[in-house]
């Protein structure tokens, strides 16, 4: 797949104002994003997602490393790079609340140097696509949060770029509007072959929309993998074991030593086996007290669990 965005070893260090102490926000992050791909950029709060997104947008200059968009360096060829990229960074705060839907679209497109002749047919197309046609002359302040969010995405689309960055696109939306926004994003990616990077905490969005995910924690990439592969990986390694009796303290101690990622609740043991032979180690621990097993099931995982496990594993290591 042709790479549209290449992030090569970016590092960003901030100095705290008072103490002048250095704080490493991102530390050597690298990844590529291909044409038409929807990539999820995930991480806990303070992981470095916003710094990464803002660096890709050319709003922040990294201390080290480089970012290229369509071959243009985001710092040295900033204006050329920005011809290919648009973003929704602060959701519904990215638009002017005292202007109407139409005026917002016209303003932001005009600010990119587009002429009125170019803008008008595209505005009509987008208003239809986003079901905002009947709200075109409504002042944004009077719209619901969902409508405002749709307009913010619409404004990013108006730029006509082939890369769109979305920071928390479904934050604060009700279920119905969240679903509608997701459907729109799917359509944009598949029908218009747009490349989309989504930074979110909503794992349903990732599972539903993203082909691939880059997970960052403490400024470093801890996973860069297809969403389906990660789900499979954790599906095959996660087991739920129903025991006939409770575990002894000694068994728990051994479990904690051998399987750092496990949960134990009464007679139910959830455990992650990081390699095939680990099942024998588990059996040895259970055999210690002749603990009987009632059932063993492979656990169905959702992406939220995958994410939590990856972040926890990283924290433990």
């Amino acid at each position: 797949m042709e790479s549209i965005i290449e992030v090569n070893g970016i590092r960003k260090v901030y100095k705290k104002r008072k103490s002048k102490e250095a704080f490493v926000a991102v530390d050597g992050i690298s990844f590529q994003v291909g044409k038409g791909e929807i990539m999820g950029l995930l991480g806990p709060n303070g992981a470095g997602k916003t710094t990464t997104i803002k660096s890709i947008c050319g709003l922040l200059v990294p201390n080290e490393g480089s970012i290229s968009i369509h071959g243009y360096d985001s710092v040295n060829d900033r204006n050329k790079a920005l011809r290919h990229i648009s973003a929704v960074l602060e959701g519904n705060r990215n638009i002017y609340w005292r202007l109407t839907v139409f005026e917002n679209l016209e303003y932001f497109a005009g600010n990119r140097g587009m002429s009125k002749k170019e803008i008008l047919p595209y505005i009509e197309e987008l208003l239809d696509m986003f079901h905002l046609q009947d709200k075109r002359n409504e002042v944004v302040n009077n719209l619901s949060r969902g409508m405002q969010q749709k307009l913010a995405i619409c404004v990013a689309m108006m730029a006509g770029t082939d890369v769109i960055l979305l920071d928390e696109p479904t934050l604060g939306l009700d279920v119905e509007t969240g679903y509608e926004v997701r459907e729109i994003l799917k359509r944009i990616a598949f029908e218009e072959q747009k490349t989309i990077i989504i930074s979110t905490h909503d794992m349903d969005v990732v599972q539903d929309l993203c082909n691939r995910t880059v997970i960052i924690n403490q400024g470093k990439v801890i996973a860069n993998e297809q969403v389906s592969k990660l789900l499979n990986l954790f599906k095959t390694s996660a087991y739920k074991i129903h025991l006939k009796e409770s575990l002894t303290e000694e068994q728990v101690k051994h479990l904690e030593h051998k399987f750092p990622i496990h949960e134990w609740e009464g007679q139910i043991l959830n455990v992650n086996l990081d390699h095939e032979e680990a099942i024998y180690d588990l059996m040895d621990i259970l055999k210690m007290n002749r603990t009987s097993i009632e059932t063993i099931n492979q656990t169905e995982v959702n992406f939220e669990e995958v994410f939590m496990k990856l972040v926890k594993e990283e924290a433990v290591s």
Binding site: L59, N79, K80, L82, A87, E90, E106, N111, G113
Partner: protein, 258 residues
């Protein structure tokens, strides 16, 4: 060139729409300025020399109009950056492939264009109130006014540069009002070195036209050199300083912060 024309068109329209949508705010601003003028006018009636009241009133009208124009222009970009950072729209402006300084130039031009209508209204309101009619020869006034605005825009970029790093500049903008007042009110005959200060030469030349009936041919080449040079110098300093501050803000990650 066409690209900038498109940016200019939407920014002029946006400035007009915001003045219209915040109508109560716009109206109260106009009324406040008018009441300030009334205060000045009645002030010179009471404390001024009765023999010079007519001339003093004429001076007050010109100075007051330039004070308003100076305040609107000089504060505009700093206020824009501070307000847009607070609203969350500032980073969107920097996401355009058109350089931010060009967008800000379009924004300040739009602001000046729209505020010129308010200025004309205030000018006529003050002349009507005082009964002192100034010489409004557009052939002489318009070119001098435009060149004066150029240096104001330059200073506006300096303020924009400061506000792109330090967003909370309201206190500074308030102090700036008094500096602008000094520049608008102090004549060059009293403080000739103020020829190097922004827009003072322009105000001085406008006074000559409006009060003493000068035409463009009555000014010397040195007057024009001072006026044009002042404009070019302040715009160059302003844009260079702003772009330097913008780079610092991008390195320090301050662009969207408020």
């Amino acid at each position: 060139m066409m690209t900038f024309a498109n940016v200019l068109r939407v920014n002029v329209k946006k400035e007009f729409l915001e003045l219209k949508r915040y109508f109560a705010n716009t109206l109260s601003m106009i009324l406040t300025m008018y009441f300030i003028f009334l205060g000045m006018f009645f002030g010179i009636q009471v404390v001024g020399d009765p023999a010079d009241v007519a001339t003093n009133t004429q001076y007050i009208i010109v100075n007051y109009v330039f004070w308003y124009l100076g305040m609107a222009t000089l504060q505009s970009l700093g206020f824009t950056i501070s307000q847009e950072a607070m609203r969350g729209t500032l980073e969107q402006l920097y996401m355009s492939p058109v350089s931010a300084w060009r967008i800000l130039l379009a924004r300040v031009s739009g602001m000046v264009f729209n505020h010129l209508f308010i200025i004309v209204f205030l000018l006529f309101a003050s002349m009507l109130t005082t009964g002192e009619w100034l010489n409004l020869n557009p052939v002489a006034v318009v070119p001098i006014l435009l060149l004066t605005v150029v240096s104001m825009i330059g200073v506006s970029f300096i303020v924009a540069g400061i506000s792109v790093i330090v967003k909370q500049i309201n206190a500074f903008l308030q102090i700036l009002q008094f500096i602008i007042m000094a520049f608008a009110f102090i004549p060059l005959s009293v403080a000739p070195y103020l020829v190097f200060a922004p827009f003072v030469k322009g105000v001085d030349m406008t006074r000559q036209v409006m009060i003493h009936g000068y035409t463009l041919t009555d000014f010397t080449a040195l007057d024009y050199i001072a006026l044009v040079g002042n404009g070019i110098a302040y715009v160059a300093i302003g844009v260079v300083l702003y772009r330097t501050c913008e780079k610092i803000a991008m390195k320090k990650g301050l662009l969207g912060h408020y």
